[in-house]
């Protein structure tokens, strides 16, 4: 990837200053440059802040939650008030405490299922792009086939095989997302392996494994990071959707999607059961997506969409 500073960044500077800037930018490490660009991205900074708070809540949730998320905290379906600020559900459990506990679940789901998709997808993409020919045809056909299953439907089909549970929902979402990585990495590898230094390393006697891991993989890492960040949001939404349908987290797990479903039958009398967990999902996904957008702009200034 080309990390030379982009001309569009230096607005209204004279030629000399621009040269100076360019000169300085060249000595700046790619990593620091990315951080600098990211820090100027308002959305990304806001997103990072929210994600930071969410991670904190995920860690210390049980200690700051006013009630046990599975215990009865008050009357059934009591509206938001001073002691239960988001109200209670039909069993009298405190919605606020359950929303706090849910942060851990949703973040775990996001990261784990993305990690599953990433490991499978990157491996397949590397193999297809690096070895080409039969390996490429086989992987590409498989990926195209998997991509033919629309959205959440593939995850649903997988859950129907594995059985409904939060763990299986994560696996299903992970498997459902690997084709995107495989396709991306394959394309990147195809161009990266043509680099002269890869050829040089091969001549020196590097094994295929070493070539792939040490020389080709680092070249494809930036777009993979971008895709992963943007995929976390999708993964959280899909897993929450599965739980909403009863195919993911099972009661009494305080999973946000399942909680929205809990409130469904009481919508007429208790809007709060559905509303607050939904806002939590939305905020989380919004924050993660903002970070992803910022990373994309920072790592790949030319690839803005």
């Amino acid at each position: 990837m080309d990390y030379v500073s982009q001309p569009d960044e230096s607005t209204s500077v004279s030629g000399a200053t621009a040269d100076l800037r360019l000169g300085r930018a060249k000595t700046e490490s790619p990593w620091r440059q990315t951080v600098r660009r990211l820090r100027r991205h308002n959305g990304a900074m806001l997103g990072l802040t929210i994600v930071g708070v969410l991670i904190l809540v995920a860690i210390i949730g049980p200690y700051i939650a006013p009630y046990d998320d599975r215990a009865i905290a008050g009357g059934s379906l009591s509206p938001p008030n001073r002691s239960t600020i988001m109200g209670t559900d039909v069993l009298g459990r405190d919605i606020f405490s359950r929303v706090l506990m849910g942060a851990r679940i949703s973040l775990t789901v996001g990261f784990v299922s993305v990690a599953i998709g990433l490991v499978i997808g990157v491996t397949l993409g590397l193999i297809a792009g690096f070895y080409g020919r039969k390996a490429d045809i086989a992987v590409s056909m498989f990926v195209d086939t998997m991509l033919a299953f629309p959205g959440i439907l593939l995850a649903i089909a997988i859950v129907s095989i594995l059985g409904p549970s939060l763990r299986n929902a994560m696996i299903a979402v992970g498997i459902g997302s690997f084709p995107a990585y495989a396709r991306l990495v394959r394309g990147q590898v195809l161009s990266a392996k043509e680099n002269e230094y890869v050829e040089a390393a091969r001549i020196v006697g590097a094994t295929n494994m070493r070539l792939m891991i040490k020389h080709v993989l680092p070249n494809v890492i930036a777009p993979v990071i971008i895709l992963s960040t943007l995929r976390i949001g999708t993964a959280i939404l899909t897993a929450a959707g599965l739980s909403f349908l009863g195919l993911g987290a099972q009661p009494p797990t305080p999973e946000w999607g399942a909680m929205v479903n809990d409130g469904r039958n009481y919508l007429r009398v208790a809007w709060w059961i559905t509303t607050f967990p939904g806002i939590a999902i939305m905020l989380t996904v919004l924050a993660v997506n903002q970070v992803g957008d910022g990373l994309r702009d920072a790592l790949d200034p030319r690839g803005r969409r």
Binding site: D144, G151, L153, G278
Partner: protein, 312 residues
């Protein structure tokens, strides 16, 4: 053009084969014996009864025979027999498929009708408050869980305001379609708005647009007649590709609004362990998606005359 269309369809054949193999192997991958599962839902499971059922379903035949039969049932559109209803899966799907199609087509239209104006406003008023507001709206739209949005719409427009019905009533009224279509469309509309904005910004700097401005044409004419035409090409791609996620999203929307449809049927089939029905619904959805993608590809040639497919 004709060559391209034929080639595009030919390329889809191996993918459809792949889909059929994956869907077929779903039944093999289910842990435990599907027949015992099927029978335990209905009656006592003696060993003899299980064996008899296995023979009847042909599960004791070699795998390739089973796949051959499965493929035949796909080609003849029968898709096996539902365990719950004893009806042909093909005819059950034919009954509800129009419902899902109606929902996804309405949502696709809304995606376009909400997303494009939002993106145009943002691009034309770049760096203004309107731009920021539009993009915040778009990002929120992308981040909202469909099922939650659906319930919130029900709460506001059915329960509080009483304007819209939650479920379809007997009269062939389009009102019942409004909330399901909106909740399905908003996510895609957000994506379309963002894409329209960046695509239009790019085009607005091109020389022919500058020329059009220099001729003294009004800003409105420049944007709508000159810039937007080219800016919308990538947008059409995305709207087309969105069709797939809309089909997936329909699963959730149908559950929220208790609508009949292929998605609701799939979820119900999974819960009831009606595997032929699961296979059938998943297969039909995947086929619909593949065909939609082909249609999108072909539509480019009409939208963008620069693309010449015959020669490659």
């Amino acid at each position: 053009m004709a060559v391209y269309i034929v080639r595009r369809f030919l390329y889809a054949i191996p993918v459809l084969f792949g889909v059929s193999i994956l869907v077929f192997s779903m039944l093999l991958l289910i842990p435990g014996d599907p027949v015992s599962l099927m029978l335990s839902e209905t009656s006592a499971t003696s060993k003899a009864a299980v064996e008899a059922k296995r023979d009847q379903l042909g599960l004791n035949d070699p795998i390739y025979d089973q796949y051959g039969r499965f493929l035949k049932s796909v080609v003849t559109l029968r898709l096996g027999t539902s365990i719950q209803t004893n009806r042909s899966v093909g005819s059950m799907i034919r009954d509800v498929f129009p419902k899902t199609l109606e929902l996804t087509v309405a949502a696709t239209l809304l995606t376009f009708l909400i997303g494009v104006p939002l993106g145009v406003i943002a691009a034309v008023k770049q760096h203004s408050l309107l731009d920021t507001a539009s993009m915040i709206l778009a990002n929120v739209g992308v981040s909202m869980p469909i099922f939650w949005l659906g319930l919130i719409l029900i709460y506001i427009f059915s329960i509080k305001l009483g304007w819209l019905p939650v479920t379809a009533q007997k009269g062939a009224d389009l009102k019942h379609l409004v909330m399901p279509a909106v909740s399905l469309a908003l996510g895609g509309a957000g994506i379309v708005a963002r894409l329209t904005r960046s695509s239009l910004l790019e085009v607005l700097n091109l020389e022919y647009v500058v020329t059009a401005r220099a001729k003294g044409l009004s800003a409105r004419v420049v944007v709508t007649r000159h810039a937007l035409r080219n800016a919308l090409i990538p947008v059409v791609t995305i709207v087309g590709l969105q069709f797939g996620s809309l089909l997936g999203g329909a699963v959730i929307v149908e559950a929220v609004f208790a609508r009949q449809g292929i998605g609701a049927m799939a979820v119900n089939a999974i819960q009831k362990k009606d595997f032929p029905l699961v296979q059938g619904t998943v297969l039909v959805a995947a086929f619909a998606y593949v065909i939609a993608n082909i249609l999108v590809d072909i539509s480019y040639a009409f939208i963008d005359p620069r693309i010449k497919y015959g020669e490659r």
